[in-house]
Amino acid sequence: MLLKDKFFRVEGTDVQDAAHAVFHVTLLADCDCYRGHFPGKPVSPGVCNIEMIKECAELLTGKDLLLAAVKQCRLTAVATPAVCPQLDVTVTAEGTGDGYTVTALIADSGKSYMEFKGTLTLNQ
């Protein structure tokens, strides 16, 4: 995986069933992406949050997946490892013919950071 243990670390997982889980993650402040995003002002790149959702969906389904489509992904607040180091990534992955319809939410007790609806397909 691209970003697991580099951009984020999974501290614990609450698996409800094969299609629903909440991943408790830590944003890693020493990730090298912050050198360039931005110098002197670390801001978690929105696309890294999207990749984090994809990797959590891979952990939930046990499958290697491709982000084939994003129906809508709203970035509702700026995330930084200093301001919100602990986040919950809630993932729902409903199986389709060739992959999963995924909805996800990145949030902490204070607010939501990302609302995601997309399609992940099996990477073959």
Binding site: R35, G36, F38, V43, P45, V47, I50, K54, C73, R74
Partner: protein, 138 residues
């Protein structure tokens, strides 16, 4: 070619290792054409291919570079842009190291600091990915 390599740093705040645009070919009216050579140092490289979020980031930074150019032309500083929303992203094929990406950015109207942007990434005229996004400028 309007901007290439180091000159791109005057347009966008992103730096190594996550700078994802290295050329601005043209910018006229509401359309710009940007480029990126996929190298083995690409931040989103996985199994020799640029992962899908990397293509979204390339489109977002291309839009920021366009906004930065427009700001410079108007005598202002290039703004920091944040992605507010990604909509209707479709991946067709992930590019490999050595491919030359050519991306068309179309800017919509700005309302309250939020601009709707369309981006299409091609390699040798083959459409690799496309998306709409809303960019929010500080």
């Amino acid at each position: 070619m309007l901007y290439e390599g180091e000159a791109i740093k005057t347009l966008i705040p992103q730096r190594d290792p996550i700078m994802m645009v290295d050329k601005v070919w043209s910018a006229e009216g509401d359309t710009a054409v940007t480029g990126l050579t996929v190298t083995d140092r690409n931040y989103f490289l996985e199994d020799g291919l640029v992962a899908e979020p990397g293509l979204i980031e390339h489109i977002a930074q291309s839009a920021s570079a366009f906004a930065g150019h427009r700001a410079r032309v108007a005598g202002q500083e290039a703004p920091i842009g944040y992605i507010g929303e990604v909509k209707k992203f479709r991946l067709y094929r992930r590019p490999a190291v050595g491919e030359e990406l050519r991306t068309v950015i179309t800017m919509g109207t700005e309302v309250n600091g939020i601009t709707l942007v369309r981006g299409e990434v091609r390699s040798n005229d083959e459409l690799l990915a496309e998306t709409q996004m809303k960019i929010f400028c500080e």
